[in-house]
């Protein structure tokens, strides 16, 4: 007799229209273990977990929970079967208190009063047992993301979850917060909870899990015991070919300063200082990376530099032009000065997803005579140019008439990057170049960025992915709370130091490198 698995999947398939999101998936997760599921974006991990959590119904296949065949038609069934899920984007009502969020759906009676007392007691017990300190009367939107995530975990445990699924749990956390989360998950495991964690970060899989399953293009391609595998093998399984985790690049040969920010500050509508005295120089032929936990002023910096928002004080020197509070430049004028900008969020700012690719490929440069006749757009020219670029940048499918929304994330990103780069700018601001892009395309995009640098362009890279910052940058600036709190050269940088700097946890005397 073997002990039954906490969860066993047999032959799960799910199709969305033409896309086979999950194909004949089988998975066995032993009880009280941490099981990693790893795969590229779009490999079908989230779909699979959504099926287990009853968000979608599988077209085919069976699910056993604790050896019992279980039909999960909706989230309520999943909850009843002891499954809890922490979604990538938290499923919390932001203006509710922690308590209200936790009891939602498990109120324990038609009047709230009845359930609340019992819930308080139970939550206190859970918090103590699993070391999950949260003020249960706080309003969720006032809590930092790390705590909001704990609320999600508590929510699942309160419903009696014995199997906890976490979807990309560390995407929004600092390395320190992530470590804390891992300690919590290990404590949960010791208490007999089975944890399934979905991620595309190899480091986390190796640090945390007992077993790991690899998904690729909707299929489960391998199961490994974590202790018997390594980063290289997993990465290869994920993409199906050998990948480099570092970018091949020579030492930078920086020349003249192209862009320099001098004490740039920016206040938002509420009068809060979002950028605090930011100063740095960017030279031709170098890549400067801005590291930081998302929301510490990186987006605001990109907006100010690209002309989207005017600065509140300070100066920006760019190509002999001095931009101040009185001499402002809008994004179009910045582009004319040869500053290109790949925005962080391609859906919101980089593309019009309802446009066909050839239309999206000229956005921002649409006034250029290359695309404009006297009255009408030169559609033929736009289309043939778009096709040319698509071939050069390996955009798939190379179809200028396809709506941008129908390209995968990586290909959308290539359309945006190609648009900005092909205008031959002097400086390139690039935000989250590989967010939501799969590994094959990441490699490709990274190579192009390095090529640009070697062609003498000045590149400012903003990314929340430390790996990316460390692989690409020649110098790294760290932002915290709207200010640049440190600078390290790429060869001295390691994850731990950067992580501490990102949380502003370093003491002044141990801080390496000069203040920028």
């Amino acid at each position: 007799m073997t002990t039954p698995y906490a969860i066993e999947l047999r032959g799960i398939s799910k199709r969305f229209g033409a896309v086979q999101a999950n194909k004949d998936i089988s998975l066995q997760v032993p009880a009280a273990t941490i099981h990693g599921i790893i795969g590229e974006n779009g490999a079908g991990k989230s779909t699979l977990m959504s099926i287990i959590y009853g968000f979608y119904e599988a077209d085919k296949g069976e699910i056993d929970i604790d050896g019992q065949l279980t039909h999960i038609r909706n989230s309520q069934d999943a909850i009843n079967a002891g499954i809890g899920m922490v979604h990538q984007h938290f499923m919390l009502v932001e203006n509710f208190s922690v308590l209200e969020n936790i009891i939602l759906g498990a109120e324990g009676g038609s009047l709230l009063k009845e359930g609340v007392q019992a819930a308080r007691k139970e939550l206190q017990r859970l918090e103590e047992e699993y070391k999950l300190d949260v003020d249960i009367d706080a309003i969720v939107e006032d809590l930092p993301v790390g705590l909001q995530q704990r609320v999600e975990i508590l929510k699942a445990l309160y419903r009696g979850a014995k199997i906890l699924i976490l979807d990309e749990p560390t995407g929004v956390l600092t390395p320190q917060e992530a470590d804390h989360l891992f300690r919590i998950l290990k404590a949960l495991k010791e208490q007999g909870v089975t944890v399934i964690i979905i991620t595309h970060k190899l480091r986390e899989i190796l640090a945390l899990t007992d077993n790991v399953s690899v998904m690729r293009q909707g299929e489960m391609v391998a199961h490994r015991e974590t202790a018997l595998t390594n980063k290289e093998e997993l990465a290869e399984l994920m993409v199906g070919k050998k990948v480099r985790l570092t970018v091949d690049k020579s030492t930078a040969q920086p020349t003249d300063t192209i862009l320099s920010a001098k004490n740039v500050s920016w206040f938002d509508e509420q009068g809060i200082e979002r950028l605090k005295n930011v100063s740095f120089d960017l030279k031709a032929g170098e890549i400067v990376g801005i590291a930081g936990v998302s929301g510490n002023g990186q987006s605001e910096l990109l907006n100010v530099l690209s002309g989207i928002t005017p600065l509140s004080s300070g100066e920006i020197h760019f190509n002999n032009e001095i931009i101040t509070t009185t001499n402002t430049k809008n994004p179009q004028q910045m582009r004319e000065l040869k500053m290109a900008h790949v925005p962080e969020d391609r859906h919101k700012m980089g593309l019009v997803t309802g446009f066909e690719a050839y239309e999206a490929a000229v956005l921002g440069y649409h006034d250029s005579p290359a695309y404009n006749g006297k009255v009408l757009l030169k559609r033929k020219a736009m289309q043939s140019e778009c096709l040319e670029r698509m071939q050069k940048w390996d955009v798939r499918p190379p179809n200028p008439y396809l709506k941008t929304a129908n390209f995968s994330g990586g290909n959308q990103q290539k359309i945006v990057i190609a648009r900005e780069v092909e205008q031959n700018p002097d400086a390139l601001l690039i935000g989250q170049p590989t967010r939501g892009v799969d590994i094959g395309a990441i490699e490709n995009i990274h190579e192009e960025i390095v090529k640009l640098r070697d062609a003498g362009k000045a590149i400012l890279l903003v990314s929340v992915e430390l790996d990316e910052i460390m692989a690409l940058s020649d110098r790294i600036l760290v932002m915290f709370d709207g200010a640049i709190v440190g600078e390290v050269s790429a060869k001295d940088a390691d994850e731990k130091t950067l992580g501490l700097m990102m949380a502003n946890a370093l003491n002044e005397d141990t801080q390496t490198g000069a203040q920028a």
Binding site: F16, A21, S46, T47, S50, Y53, F55, Y56, N74, S75, Q76, A78, I79, M85, H87, H89, M91, L92, V93, E94, N95, F96, E100, N101, I103, L104, G105, A106, E107, G109, S110, L111, L112, K113, G115, K155
Partner: protein
């Protein structure tokens, strides 16, 4: 002076009543995430159905029942468009308003042949005033007589019902499981769905409550406030109720105050008709009637506090495709 104030307040109660019902109706809908610009149409539809049924059956209560049925039907239609088929809430609401405005008159002409009106309601076909004990006896006592006999006593049962429903709604929304889920579904339906609760079911329930309340509002107009249905008799009250809902920041007690304020302005406007004000001359009625809208616009522009509605309002709920 005191007497005319009492008379204005008395009128305020009467004209506020349909606003209170309709604004509460809108409150349930919007708290669940459904924008309901169709309050106006539901009220008008109910006013017609109530008056027609009251004429036919000779009972205001049966009229009320039919009014509610008509309004609930329209609310479910709105729900079907917005919840099941994820249509645009405004388009569906405007469509309902337009259809009802035409349909009531057309049916009225066909059935009653009185230029689109229903026959005048008399006796038990209307909701008559309820006289409180000793109201007649106390009527001549100074101050108390006016307050008790004139202001508090002598309204139809629906007026009192409106004022009872406000605290009841507050209790439902803040103290019950349904209320918690209702508020959650208007803020973040994804959170509700993943908590194992059926989003559509909550929203449909909210629409049924919305329909019932609008139905009472409409029946009040034709069978209590007036004696019969008149073409377009809701006269923008649905929109004023929506303004009151925003002005009251989607909270029952504040919404009540907003309805009373707007009702008061309406009562004053009627009172000021043709009255010479020293130094100004005649104040145009329209100048006062426009105030609710002006106040609401000022509120939304941020001059009077801040109005933040339920976050998911007006957005169809679609499960994310990962």
């Amino acid at each position: 002076m005191f007497e005319s104030l009492i008379l204005i307040l008395d009128a305020t109660l009467r004209v506020s009543t349909p606003l209170i019902f309709a604004a509460l109706a809108g409150l349930y809908a919007e708290r669940s995430g459904i924008v309901d610009i169709g309050l106006e149409g539901k009220m008008l539809g109910s006013a017609f159905a109530a008056a027609a049924a009251a004429t036919f059956f000779g009972s205001a209560w049966i009229g009320l029942f039919f009014g509610i049925m008509a309004s609930v039907f329209l609310a479910l239609l709105h729900g079907f468009a917005c919840i099941t088929h994820r249509g645009d809430h405004i388009v569906s609401g405007v469509a309902i308003n337009t259809i009802v405005a035409g349909l009531t008159v057309t049916l009225g002409l066909y059935w009653f042949d009185q230029g689109g009106q229903t026959p005048s309601l008399v006796g038990a076909e209307r909701f008559g005033p309820i006289t409180f004990p000793f109201a007649d006896a106390l009527a001549d006592v100074p101050v108390i007589g006016l307050l008790y006999s004139e202001l508090l006593s002598g309204h139809s049962v629906l007026v009192y019902l409106a004022f009872v429903l406000v605290p009841v709604s507050a209790w439902i929304i803040y103290q019950t499981r349904f209320g918690l889920r209702l508020r959650a579904v208007g803020e973040n339906p994804h959170a509700v769905d993943t908590a194992g609760i059926n989003v559509a079911a909550i929203r449909y329930r909210a629409m049924i409550i919305c329909g019932i309340l609008c139905g009472i509002a409409g029946a009040y107009l034709s069978t209590a406030h007036n004696a019969g249905f008149l073409k377009d008799m809701s006269a923008g009250k649905g929109y004023i109720a929506l303004a009151a809902l925003i002005f009251g920041k989607w909270r029952p007690m504040s919404v009540l105050l907003a309805c009373l304020l707007f009702g008061f302005l309406d009562a004053v406007a009627v009172r000021m008709q043709g009255v010479e004000v020293a130094g100004i001359g005649q104040v145009p009625v329209q100048a006062i009637e426009v105030l609710p809208y002006v106040l609401t616009v000022l509120l939304l522009a941020g001059f009077i506090g801040k109005a933040v509605g339920p976050k998911a309002v007006g957005r169809p709920y679609v499960k994310e495709r990962s």
